[in-house]
């Protein structure tokens, strides 16, 4: 197992309490950071090569350097704990088991950004974790790690938890800020970017839970040391939440650059496919990333072994590659239906669309209905081309990336598994699971 920077102490009994966390090296990074200048902390994060761990992989140090600093205007750091990307459960795991690593990261990151009031926006379904965080935050206040004059440094920070109420779109940073303001989660057009005009029009940085937690080991070991782990522009470690048809689902911390074959088959990680079945396909970074057939996941189109890194998983673009994404690693074996799985994801995007943009609002609905009629045995061969056409008219034509997130699974499933779609159309009665339920809500299926 590679270096464990975030999960090193995850199994220590009581690590969720302040006392045990401190006894295992906790809040040393904060102590060090408060003696540095904010610009120095930003430079360490830049040197580390840390990239946003929520899915987009944008360089964190660069994002931090964009924050506007108008005189007399408060700035805010907002942690995106809205984890809702299907297949992803790493942030929940980290927050539930070791809340203080996130809190320590929030304090030192807020200091680096010049924020005196910061928020953790957690999805409403995780209210039990909201309460865990509130308790940990109260303990930090009681110990002088939050509030006025933290550790005698003269720095003040108020840290609050805020909860959502069930909306995948609020994981998009501008929709999250709208929600934090008490409104419907409708994404904003960028520019202006949150760094200039964020929550309540103030300069704001939004970062994923894992990204902020990673600043703790980065300050402890120094950015340059962190950058020695990994490969190329994929430095450090990443939490991967593995699920689906594997022997050992769960959250794993990997050094970026780990060979994909090892991650899938080694007993240290996923332990191979369950029940001796064959590996059919994988959605390697959350439902939004292109699906890949097993062989293309293990080896690039050039014939090289693929690695778990931003660059290697992206090798071949979308023609033969995918993305590291959020780290939500979903494995499908030979018994899985690509078409049914795609219908399920498309239903998800249709349900979660905020509705602002016609291509997304209408397009996801059309794709869901077409996939449903294919599954019910009423599909036409032209439906596959129609699906391709619809997704191509969503991609790039929406305010936020939910459009792409809905389009890419459709495009990749057709690109790599067209014959399966055609099988459903040509031989509907031969498909075992033709008896299929529309939308599970027992709503009347639309006219084919």
């Amino acid at each position: 197992m590679g270096k464990q920077l975030l999960l090193e102490h995850i199994n220590v009994p009581g690590i969720e309490t302040l006392g045990v966390y401190r006894a295992n090296g906790g809040y040393k990074a904060l102590e060090k950071a408060l003696k540095m200048k904010p610009e120095e902390i930003v430079n360490e994060v830049k040197a580390s090569g840390l990239r946003g761990r929520g899915g987009a992989g944008f360089p964190t140090g660069l994002k931090w350097s964009f924050i506007a600093k108008p005189e007399g205007v408060p700035r805010h750091l907002v942690c995106n704990a809205d984890e809702s990307e299907p297949g992803t459960f790493k942030d929940r795991f980290l927050m539930q088991k070791n809340p203080h690593i996130l809190i320590e990261g929030m304090i030192l990151s807020s200091f680096a950004l010049g924020a005196n009031v910061s928020y953790i926006y957690i999805r409403g379904e995780l209210l039990y974790v909201y309460h865990i965080l509130e308790k940990a935050i109260q303990d930090a206040y009681d110990a002088g790690l939050l509030g006025k004059n933290i550790m005698g440094s003269g720095y003040d920070l108020e840290l609050y938890v805020h909860c959502g109420a069930g909306a995948y779109i609020c994981g998009e940073e501008t929709a999250l800020l709208e929600s934090l303001e008490g409104k419907r989660g409708n994404p904003r057009i960028k520019p202006p970017f949150p760094a200039v005009s964020g929550v309540w029009g103030r300069p704001t940085v939004v970062n994923n839970v894992e990204t902020i937690a990673a600043t703790v080991p980065i300050i402890n070991m120094g950015g340059a040391e962190y950058a020695k782990i990994g490969v190329g522009k994929s430095t450090g470690t990443k939490l991967i939440s593995a699920c689906g048809h594997i022997n050992k689902p769960g959250v794993y911390e990997i050094e970026l650059g780990l060979p994909c074959e090892e991650f899938l088959n080694s007993d240290q990680y996923c332990g191979g496919i369950k029940n001796g079945k064959k590996f059919k396909a994988v959605v390697a970074g959350g439902s939004s990333v292109p699906i890949l057939p097993g062989a293309l996941f293990l080896t690039t189109a050039k014939g090289e072994p693929r690695l778990m890194s931003y660059e290697s998983l992206g090798d071949g673009g979308f023609a033969t590659g995918t993305m590291l994404g959020s780290g939500g690693f979903i494995v499908l074996d030979e018994t899985a239906s690509i078409v049914k799985n795609l219908w399920n994801f498309t239903r998800f995007y249709h349900h979660e669309s905020c509705g602002q943009c016609s291509p997304c609002r209408e397009g996801t609905g059309w794709m869901e209905k077409i996939l449903h009629r294919i599954l019910e045995g009423h599909g036409k061969l032209s439906d596959v081309d129609l699906l391709w056409d619809i997704q191509s008219k969503i991609e790039g034509k929406t305010i936020c990336p939910l459009g792409e997130a809905a389009a890419w699974p459709v495009a990749s499933a057709i690109r790599h598994f067209r014959t399966e779609f055609e099988e459903y159309v040509k031989n509907p009665m031969s498909i075992k699971d033709v008896k299929h339920y529309y939308n599970v809500r027992n709503e009347k299926a639309p006219v084919a």
């Binding site: 297949g87 992803t88 929940r92 409403g124 995780l126 069930g166 995948y168 399920n344 998800f348």
Partner: protein
Amino acid sequence: MAKEIKFTEETMALVQRMIKRYPEGKQKSAIIPILHLAQMEFDGWLDVPVMDYVASILKIQPIEVYEVASFYSMFNLKPVGKCLIEVCRTGPCWLLGAEDIVRHIEKKLNIKDGETTPDGMFTLKTVECLAACGTAPVIQVGETYHESMTCESVDNMLNDYKSKGERKTHYDKKHVH
């Protein structure tokens, strides 16, 4: 008619503490946490007078509450049973048998997805990814995540809730003091 719509003293104190988390004049930000408390206090759903009450606390227009309540999927705009059984229906859970779990509950309780049992005890609702995919299939009741569910463990879970007969809400009232 109906009982007066008013938060208890403890809940109102919590509401005021929540409002203070946001800058002066930005109290509307507290709307989502407060709506969770309203569901906790008023039978698990948001009737129009309840939403109007929340609007009056935050000094905003009722429409500003209605539009938020109708956007977020955790807010119930119709009455729900004492236990809202929320079964995840997205990708990984679906791959690992969530559909069978849903069918099983429908058959056992004799209701369809979205319906409530005649005794007012259970409402079945399928929901999207709950971020627990490694222990699929997953069910949420109140604040509790029930993971790695089988038809058998579903039966045990339902029997347990039925025997206790208590209302479960996402914001559990044990956290209010």
